[in-house]
Assembly symmetry: C2
Homo-oligomer: 120 residues x 2
């Protein structure tokens, strides 16, 4: 499977809203995940830790709508843009999140994901 | 100047359509530029070579409209998304280009730019 094929399938799974399924299928056991913000989950290492971060996020946000654009591909990397209409339960304030993820592929698995947030 | 400040100013200059001015202001003398496609300009090294690539692009495309989204920021990197309504003079076929650039900053200058194209 080429990076392009992986990127397309991964992005198509994300479009269905199944982030957990996409990660389960393609994340490497040794994936490193980097958020843009500081905090205890700024860097997660390993498929299980990344899955736990996703579970935390799902439990703490109400998602009203989402869009996925991509994949944008260059070599062993691809980019996906996410816009999400969400209410973080901590604040109760409905917001639009706009971010991109850059994914790096090795041997048919995602070994790194790094997220960038829109600054306005 | 922080990476965030640089990213915002660079992106604001791009929004005015002045790609050459943005590059002149912020590209490092030793910038490396990576396109997604194969070809003689797949990798350009140095501010002058990158400027020459830009000149070639301008001379060979008619731009009908463009939009710039970003910057998306994480640490010393930022991402800009470009959509362009253009006619490449070689084909005469009007197309929409949709791509992202990932920029890496060191010491207040852009030392790497890498472009990713939307695959549909």
């Amino acid at each position: 499977m080429t990076t392009l094929e992986l990127a397309k399938d991964f992005t198509n799974i994300l479009r269905t809203g199944d982030h957990e399924g996409a990660a389960a299928k393609y994340n490497s056991d040794s994936i490193a995940s980097y958020e843009a913000m500081e905090g205890p989950m700024a860097v997660c290492r390993g498929k299980e830790e990344v899955r736990a971060k996703g579970d935390w996020w799902q439990a703490n946000h109400e998602v009203h709508g989402a869009s996925v654009e991509g994949p944008y591909v260059n070599g062993e990397q691809f980019v996906v843009r996410f816009t999400m209409d969400v209410t973080p339960k901590a604040t109760g304030q409905r917001i639009t999140m706009d971010e991109v993820g850059i994914y790096t592929v090795q041997d048919g698995k995602i070994v790194e994901e790094r997220f960038y947030y829109l600054e306005t």
